[in-house]
Amino acid sequence: MIVLVFAYVVTSRLNAASRFVAVDRNQNAVMLARAKLALVGYVAQLAAQAGEANPGRLPCPEPFGYYNTANEGIAAANCTLPAVGRLPWRTLGLDKLTDTAGEPLWYVVSPGWALPNSTTPTVINSDSQGQLTIDGAANDSVALIIAPGERMTTAACGGAAAWAQVRPVAGPLDVRNYLECENAVSASFVTSRPGQTFNDQAVRVRAADLMPSIEAAVADRIQREIAPALRTVYTNSNYSGIPSSSPLYPYPAPFSNPGTSSYQGSAALCQSPPDPSYPCQGLLPVNQASSMVAYQSTPGNAVETQGYGYIVSQTCSWESTNDVRICEGVYHEYTAEPWRPIVLRMTATFTNMAMGLRALDGARFQAYARDDSGTPPWSPIATNAPSATMNSDGSVTVRVSATMPNIDAMSWDTQGEFRLRLERAIITDHPLVKSTDPTYGWFTRNQWQRVLYYAAAQKNTAYSLSSFGCGSTNCLRFNEGLGCGSGANYCNIRALMVLGGASLSNASRPNGNLSDYLEGDNENGGTFYEQQRMRRLTNVTHPKGPWNDRVILVDWTGTSLLLTTVNNHPQVVADTSTSPVRTYYLP
């Protein structure tokens, strides 16, 4: 009888204990899931902020020294990665979430996903993977959120020495008092472990968990920041030869493996017929001007443009490398009216202008003058703003000039010496492709061009300068089914971009397979593009399959794209041609 009673008591206690473990684990799982959702949303919101130079980055953990201080719950500005610490609940906006042991949650963040110091930026795009080693699998996760559980005494395990955990009320924290085994050593991490010396409960945050939100935020920023800038790279206001009716768009680079592409725009893509067969679409040409732009031919000598005074003699030469053209000589005043200004000009044509995103750097033309008697030192002279003309072969003709010092005013008798110096670097990179640019640098520094497809209407490229500007029959088309047949809406796109997003087939990236980047009609090389609702299909089928393309409309004819509703859901919204268009992904 006594034995029976004893056995009953023992088994009932065991049952109760295991029941409580299950209840505890469920309750912890709820807290961990809540923390994960808040983290993912926080990352997206942070990435979407204009001025955030590292979109997609995660907050650092709370520093150990913040424990039990007024700064508790606040993330460190930067941290040595992988970083382990308490979840920065206040930064995320959460309550101080605790596990069933009453312990605040812990948090591990992967190398490459948070700021390691105040100067090193992150590089995060759709192809980025977490670099945490979890349960022996390398590059498994971006972050780990851990419920540390009750304190315990552990034997040596997973590289950690035996340890009797204590939970002191004063900081700084010691990770060994909260996490066990591998997690306490902080090199590789585990979510479960056999044996009695481990009671951490963890949830992974993988790149695939974060990427849909990050891509949504980045697509929004490309729409707000990159697209408007693309509209102003080549316009009538800075390049004559481009009609005032619309901007000119650079030639796309042929699509090839984005990891090895030169990102050099190709005029052949926008010929009729195009070569290769996909017309005027591919990668955004974010190459550097220094690698592509050259003098098309030897620039002519300097000339006087105002008709007052003249050049007596000059010699033009190349300086060191052929990148700088120098003309030196003697100029003479206008004898009849010596007060008249004398303007000297140089003209040069540069190749491959429209094959990239370029700008003019007027400081790369310098002018000097001095008296022609003796050899006094050269005096620098202010130069006039350069003017440029876009040519149909994609080259640009640049005219630079300087108003020379008045001979009389300088008391130089009747003539002086001039020296004009024109550098190839007058064709420079547009801020859009400068990774150091404070406004746009985030885009190329994080290599978002690797997952961005770009298309321009052939009629809006340099190839068509003689009959410029697309119309209702030859613009790009977008979501045509929404009214293109009956009117001009959405048949009027001059340029657009498609953020391809992460691989839906988990293929190894980067690769040269366009269908691994784009979906549906976006990948067929036509001039019709479509936006469908984001979906990852698991057990249902859809004629278009899973979808994570995000179309970014850059420019269109007319003054506005109207709000159109399909089944009462707005599809495209724009107020005026100057404000960004945003596309919505609704059923």
Binding site: V40, A48, A50, D95
Partner: protein, 260 residues
């Protein structure tokens, strides 16, 4: 006839009875006290579960409607006011408004008036961010969080700037936890889009201290800490609170394809 022994037939003396009653009442009191404490504990847990359920339902409402609901008022029969969202009649809890809109979100446990209640039968409160936004990259039309159209047009860069949860009412203003609060705020100023709380066992009876009063004074500054009996600074406090962060809301809306 044999006389019965009077001594053996005597009953309990008064003293004995008094002792017995004293012991019984002591035992009873102890039992009842434990019972009442257990009931309180159970109600506390139950209320915690209800406000967490309300939290989930609010996020589900946001995914279905592209916005958060407005709070109910004392005359809206448990529905959001105005119906259909937009500029809320009363965004922050006060004597007449700021109730959880049980009908709008499908909260099941309600009183006769249709309002969601906690385990003590007191109406659950709800506040939603309605004030000026911060951080907006584009437009910032108000209301943001309770208008599906504005939420989409303004986008996910807009952060709430009016709701904040403090640890104490000491030093708070109508918009912040104060310039130098005695304890750091529980939330940063730009993180909270909605607050849900139950007024606890004592309910909305005006018996609470300054900390409780701060939650019902019609502004966006709230106080939450572990329960206090009457006595410590700012008096009795038994509100139970949870909140929704901008990250949680935007994360859900982005995942649902509603943003950006």
């Amino acid at each position: 006839m044999h006389m019965r022994d009077q001594r053996h037939e005597r009953g309990f003396t008064l003293t004995e009875l008094a002792v017995v009653f004293a012991i019984v009442s002591l035992l009873l009191a102890a039992g009842l006290y434990t019972l009442s404490a257990q009931t309180d504990q159970r109600n506390f847990e139950e209320t915690r579960q209800r406000i967490e359920a309300a939290r989930s339902l609010l996020l589900a409402f946001a995914v279905a409607n592209g916005r958060l609901p407005c709070p109910a008022t004392s005359t809206s029969a448990g529905d959001e006011a105005p119906a259909g969202g937009g500029t809320c009649t009363g965004a922050y809890p006060s004597g007449t408004g700021g109730f959880l809109p049980a009908r709008a979100i499908g909260f099941q446990i309600t009183d006769a008036g249709g309002y969601a209640v906690d385990a003590w039968g007191n109406r659950i409160r709800y506040a939603v961010s309605a004030g000026a936004l911060t951080g907006c990259a584009g437009t910032s039309s108000l209301p943001h969080f309770t208008s599906a159209t504005n939420l989409r047009l303004n986008g996910l860069t807009c952060q709430p700037n009016d709701l904040v949860v403090c640890r104490t009412a000491t030093g708070i203003t109508s918009t912040t936890c104060g310039a130098s609060p005695p304890q750091p705020p529980l939330t940063n100023q730009t993180t909270v889009v909605a607050v849900i709380f139950a007024t606890g066992k004592t309910g909305n009876q005006g018996t609470g201290g300054a900390d409780e009063a701060a939650n019902l004074n019609g502004d966006g500054v709230f106080v939450w800490h572990t329960p206090n009996p009457a006595g410590p600074t700012n008096g009795e406090f038994d509100h139970q609170m949870t909140w929704i962060t901008a990250g949680e809301l935007y994360g859900r809306l982005v995942a649902a394809g509603l943003l950006p």
